[in-house]
């Protein structure tokens, strides 16, 4: 394993009420919160909801800077949203620089829409920050459980997700080794134009696929050998169980969200 620890996704290990919260409750509350954000029409209310981010970060014992970092991949889209609104909304003129006119409404809209987008991403990131991928798939399986009644392969899909997540680090390490082995015999993965580079990946991808298929085969065999028989009647090592704290969070959270949305409408 090369003594290397791979951080998967953006899970931030800590002991906090938010980490301990039932992942299904987290998913449902996030869903409600994200939906609520789309109902808010007032910048002030939106900004007030934004204050929840540092509060949740404190509750989750995740550094605020770590949470904000989740916005990085979206920075471009956020800025684009902001500037398009600032520059192309008609209204009361604030300032003019050559052909560019900034309006007050534009500034308001720009702030509002980029805030909305940013908050949706930030709130969803709290789920992945405080929930391990395995817990998350468990929660998804449990929430979609009723679909089993109409013969949807919920358990199988959840199992596939878990297995896929489990093997990402393994395959990463393997890819690294194969890459080094091919480099040792003269492969060049770094230089050349795009077609040459794509072609240079063949010596990496073929061995990686071969080994992934072999692993899949061995895993299937090992599961069968241990009597794995799928979802029906299977018990779990970690059962998701709603505690009273979880129920309190769920209803408290829903009430708070309903209040904010209602308040937003009233204003």
């Amino acid at each position: 394993m090369n003594g290397r620890s791979l951080v998967l996704g953006q899970y931030y290990p800590a002991r906090s009420p938010l980490h301990a919260l039932d992942p299904r409750v987290k998913l449902l509350l996030t869903l409600a919160l994200v939906a609520a954000i789309f109902f808010i029409n007032e910048l002030v209310v939106m900004a007030a909801v934004g204050l929840l981010v540092p509060i949740l970060a404190a509750v989750a014992r995740v550094p605020l800077s770590w949470v904000i970092r989740g916005l990085r991949p979206l920075l471009f889209i956020l800025l684009l949203t902001f500037f398009i609104h600032v520059l192309f909304t008609p209204g009361v003129r604030l300032a003019t620089m050559g052909p560019i006119t900034v309006t007050a409404t534009g500034l308001r809209h720009g702030t509002f829409y980029s805030l909305r987008l940013g908050l949706v991403v930030l709130f969803s990131s709290f789920v992945t920050l405080t929930t391990t991928p395995v817990q998350l798939t468990d929660a998804i399986e449990s929430l979609f459980g009723p679909l089993k009644k109409v013969r949807a392969p919920v358990h199988e899909v959840a199992l596939m997700m878990t297995i896929a997540l489990r093997f990402i680090p393994t395959l990463l390490i393997e890819a690294e080794t194969i890459m080094k082995a091919q480099k040792a015999r003269g492969a060049d993965f770094e230089s050349g134009h795009i077609f040459k580079r794509a072609k240079s990946l063949v010596p990496l991808l073929i061995p990686l696929f071969v080994s992934a298929f072999r692993r899949a085969d061995e895993l299937a065999l090992a599961m069968e050998a241990r009597g794995y028989a799928g979802g029906e009647g299977r018990t779990r090592l970690h059962t998701l169980r709603l505690r009273s704290v979880d129920i309190a969070w769920l209803f408290g959270g829903l009430a708070a969200i309903a209040f904010v949305v209602g308040f937003g409408w009233a204003v």
Partner: protein, 285 residues
């Protein structure tokens, strides 16, 4: 001086909480023609060390010198310099990818820009060095070979580089007894025809049979560097890192307690035979 390591250190994920030191202050020189066995328990840093020796991993401290040239001073020349040291990874059959054995072995010559007319001869020589008949194997898909044949084809893919130093990271793992003996013979033959060998091994009998120098690694540090006979006298050092002297040496040590044997520590069955016969006053035929 083919390869020199000067105070080489390696730390995984430096400057982070998970930082882990894999190697510390490792220095030694590989001289032409040597057969070095690199031994040490799992996690002692052997695999990292051989990747550094092959110029694939940059040490976090210290220098790696190929024929007098610090290889990390001019990284642009690395792909060319790497030819000096061929590295055969653990389970090298995992790196096979071409449609035919010939194409796979020809990977290096074609990348290195060697003229197309010279390639088949190089491939033939490499395959025959590992005991695979060129004519009957060249057209076959590497994925239809047996495990042992795959291993050999993959080794040929490194041998074809004609490296002056060949590093093998546990080459015999997973082979049957005959495959092991066979492979050991091939490696010995390579050494006798002038290739310098560095071999990582957990099989002390194999080390005793083949190596003329042993470097012992424990927790990222070199704890012994010398002749095998000296290495296997360090019983406390060996026990401390969970290794055992070769079986022959252990038998000799027990016989020695009864005053039966004395003098040199025999390492191979043939040496033990000589010593026992000598103890009974008989000369070896």
């Amino acid at each position: 001086m083919l390869v020199e390591l000067e105070a080489v250190g390696y730390t995984y994920l430096p400057r982070s909480e998970a930082a882990a030191q894999a190697l510390a202050n490792v220095s030694f020189t590989v001289r032409a023609g040597e057969f070095i066995a690199l031994i040490g328990p799992t996690g002692s840093g052997k695999s990292t060390l051989v990747q550094i020796m092959a110029g694939l991993v940059k040490p976090t401290s210290g220098r790696v010198i190929f024929e007098g040239e610090d290889i990390w001073l001019e990284p642009g020349r690395l792909p060319v310099r790497r030819r000096l040291v061929g590295l055969i990874f653990q389970e090298p059959e995992k790196q096979l990818f071409e449609m035919t054995v010939e194409d796979d072995v020809a990977f290096w010559p074609r990348n290195a820009g060697i003229g197309a007319e010279a390639v088949p001869e190089m491939v033939r020589a490499a395959l025959e060095a590992v005991g695979l008949d060129y004519a009957s194997y060249k057209e076959r898909s590497p994925f239809t070979l047996s495990g042992g044949e795959m291993r050999r084809a993959a080794i040929a893919g490194v041998l074809v580089m004609g490296s002056r130093v060949l590093i093998l990271d546990e080459p015999a793992v997973g082979l049957d007894a005959r495959g092991r003996v066979d492979l050991a013979d091939k490696i010995r033959a390579l050494n006798q025809t002038g290739t310098t060998i560095v071999m990582v091994s957990h099989d002390m009998d194999e080390v005793a049979e083949l190596a003329d120098r042993v470097i012992m690694l424990a927790q990222g540090c070199v704890v012994f560097d010398g002749q095998p006979r000296e290495a296997f006298k360090q019983t406390e050092l060996l026990a401390g890192i969970g290794l055992e002297a070769p079986q022959v040496a252990r038998i000799a040590a027990r016989l020695d307690r009864h005053g039966l044997l004395s003098g040199r520590l025999p390492l191979t069955p043939a040496e033990l035979e000589q010593d026992i016969l000598a103890a009974f006053g008989k000369a070896t035929a």
